[in-house]
Symmetry: C2
Subunit: 496 residues, 2 copies
């Protein structure tokens, strides 16, 4: 059977991914290497993600603010590990105007005394504000979030997954005690987990990063790791317990109830437009994108099928009535997002346009539907099946259909992860799994000791330690690479 | 009477403005000169503005997208007037990493082949995408908007009004004909006018910019000019008819219905966080910020007044019940935003905290209110008056109270503008108005000819031509500065 996307996932997963992005009009490369243009369809997805996650963060007491794009070099240097971690990928502003050179060309002028870095993340800059805003225990906890663009110069860019500029939210919180900061760190990784499961139908493994995979400057980094259809891992969100490292660097102190000055405890955490890439690689098929209904910019598309001009008015009127009826229905408190595709292109072209973009439900309305008061619809997760049903019955069952698409997509993702996660206790098994060419890569759960020898040993397999999962096997075993006995198991995988 | 803000508006308007921003915790300067930190209270205002304007733009068919932060110098140069207009205020990225110099210091490294400019506006970069997206007349009109940060290096920064980095929306549209593009340009300036009137209670004069006040590269710029309490003008939003200038620069062509390739017509338009500054200077008083209810992050604040610990639980329970009742009411389709201030600070401090921030309605609940089932409330636009009223009556009238605050604030702004707009036909009057020190500056409506001699002549008064208003006096007169006879009248004013 001919598919809309060439190559197929099986033929070339990586090229399939690029093609889905092009065909679904999600994004394109910009003239600046590594930066992307997020087209309206993908930006609509991002807006839906933002609205939902933003509400969840607000419901748990977080407030949004906005901090400057540019960070003085001296600020970035306040935390030594932090600047080391980002130095190789910083875009540096050195001048503040352009002037005409003798040859008439425009050249940078007005050199700055101190170079400015475009934020790769904002701990050091936001820390300066937090240190002013926090004076007393009464000001704590201070729970700030910002939605912003950040930039990390990327040598091997990939749309949504690794772009020099990307959009994200970054939370920054200050607490009176270590316990409270740790609780916040965990609450956030839980919030991320629930959000990507409920809303994006992703399946993830939640855990803690090993020492060499931590955020630069953090004491601990918590993560959710999603499995893509090729069995590779994608880090979908991280939450960092920063201990007192950044409080020290930014001088964030408070007067406690006893009147004594104390150093505060901080956290930071973020998710980004990379989640759009995660959805493509989790849900997409050989016909393009497939969107979970809750996050789809259009949940139901109505395609009028007009074979004769004399039917046009009646068919449009029928579509319009249907659109109004659908738009009054609600899914999770939001009116259904429904549109009629009235463009001046043929029905077949329209059909594939919406399939490739992943619209959950596509309705076709022609003369027959009009005459018999029917709806012919097809769900994106089963494009071959076209269901003809009385309009009134369709309207009654619409919400259930959308809910079941949402749940089915999650179940598929979850089952795929369960089927492809393997427990391993010998180096031979480990080698076999990662050296062989598999149709689907595996998540490997194996004994682990936090020792740099492990990092070295696994690099030959192009494998990394994704996390030490919260849910652990209850057995002891021997670390494959150090021979040490351990109760700890880690998730090893190839990754994006 | 003691006021919360010192100095008062009369004593020093400019310093009063800075103090309101500090005391209302709206924003602060950042370590990077000219860049600001937008604190949660002001960011909450911005989020409300965004939600409302975004919906209006979507309702008129615009879609959001996101384009890169960085613009290659060669792109900016595609439109000659445009690059001239922005060259003096461009932040330039020249390197993409940091490395350690011999003395151990971190220095910029990895010099770029071509300098990159942080977008001061995005016509040239977005044009490159639009030129790919537009192929046929079927693709038109193409109506794109983006919410983004932009950067224009500012030598004399002022919080919200003139900051190097600011947040805005920038719309970019492509049309098949000049008429359609012009219609869009006008529709947008009308949308801006309605938005700032209905939602922000600002009073504005709508018009067209004269030749030397146009956006660099535009054929025509339309504007709304608001009057601040000191009688100065503030440009609150602009909409540009770009003709075919940028279509030519970015090669935006389409195949028309006859199969012939044509050059397209474009527009661009924007409003920014400067609108927050406009609200402070329009509505603020000597006690701080005053917020129109529709845009206030908190519309009703409940302050428990606890004199004796034994009443605390009952008072809190009363407040909580009241909060729930209020939050079920709706203003323009949105639930009322209401909070209880439970902070561990005294009642007087809380009261002034919310007055300074401009919360429209403040309720105090103490033992008496509890016992008599009363609400004691005060409206921000009349802080001296405290009204005691049965809870049930208050709940019934709440929406009307909020609506009347919104309308009163607009009427005040409008009356101020009417009272301080003067029609002038002689240079003597003009001189008198702008040379004398007035408590409130004036908007002067005077005959106008679009001639650079006017620009020169008025510069000695530190006055600029704000616009040629849509609503014109129906008389002819003589231009004050060229002596030419004209039917056209312009609005002259001092401005921010």
């Amino acid at each position: 059977m001919k598919t809309a996307i060439n190559p197929t996932r099986r033929e070339n997963f990586s090229e399939w991914y690029q093609q889905v992005i092009i065909q679904a009009e999600l994004a394109e490369n910009s003239p600046v290497r590594g930066c992307m243009v997020i087209r309206p369809w993908a930006y609509g997805i991002w807006e839906n993600m933002q609205r939902e996650l933003d509400q969840r963060l607000k419901d748990s007491g977080h407030e949004n603010a906005y901090f400057p794009l540019l960070i003085p070099l001296s600020f970035l240097q306040k935390e030594a590990e932090h600047v080391d971690g980002f130095a190789k990928e910083c875009a540096v502003v050195t001048h503040h105007r352009l002037e005409q050179a003798l040859d008439g060309k425009l050249v940078p002028a007005g050199q700055l005394d101190e170079p400015l870095i475009i934020r790769p993340t904002s701990e050091t800059l936001i820390g300066a504000s937090l240190s002013r805003w926090v004076q007393s225990y009464r000001d704590l906890p201070l729970l700030i979030n910002q939605w912003a663009n950040v930039l990390r110069w990327e040598m091997r860019p990939r749309l949504f997954l690794r772009t020099s500029e990307f959009l994200w939210q970054e939370g920054h919180t200050v607490h009176a005690t270590s316990d409270e900061a740790m609780k916040e760190t965990i609450n956030i990784v839980d919030t991320y987990e629930n959000f990507v499961i409920d809303y994006l139908s992703l399946s993830v493994t939640k855990g803690i990063k090993c020492s060499w995979e931590r955020f630069p400057g953090a004491v601990d980094t918590y993560t959710i790791e999603a499995m893509m259809q090729d069995g590779k891992a994608l880090q979908a969100g991280t939450s960092h317990f920063l201990g007192q490292n950044f409080a020290k660097a930014s001088d964030i102190h408070f007067i406690n109830k006893k009147g004594i000055k104390e150093l505060a405890w901080t956290t930071s955490w973020g998710v980004s437009t990379r989640l759009i890439g995660a959805m493509i690689m989790t849900h997409g098929d050989d016909n393009g994108m497939m969107l979970p209904p809750l996050v789809a910019p259009i949940q139901v598309i109505i395609v009028p099928i007009i074979h004769s001009e004399q039917d046009a008015d009646d068919i449009y009127a029928f579509c319009d009535k249907l659109r109004k009826q659908i738009s009054r229905k609600k899914l999770k408190g939001q009116n259904i997002r429904v549109k009629i595709d009235k463009r001046d292109v043929n029905g077949g072209e329209k059909k594939w346009y919406h399939i490739k973009r992943g619209v959950p439900i596509r309705i076709e309305i022609g003369k027959k539907e009009l005459e018999q008061d029917l709806v012919s619809y097809s769900c994106r997760n089963n494009v071959k099946e076209i269901i003809k049903i009385d309009t009134s019955v369709f309207l009654k069952s619409l919400i259930k259909i959308l809910q079941s698409i949402q749940v089915n997509m999650f179940n598929n993702a979850k089952n795929r992860m369960l089927e492809n996660t393997i427990t391993v206790t010998t180096i031979e098994e480990f080698r076999q799994i990662f050296k062989e060419k598999n149709a689907i890569n595996k998540f490997v759960l194996a004994p682990f000791v936090d020792d740099e020898r492990v990092k070295e040993a696994i690099s030959e397999y192009s494998v990394s330690v994704r996390c030490i999962p919260f849910v652990q096997p209850k057995t002891e075993a021997t670390c494959l690479f150090t021979g040490k006995h351990t109760k700890t198991w880690a998730l090893y995988a190839k990754s994006y």
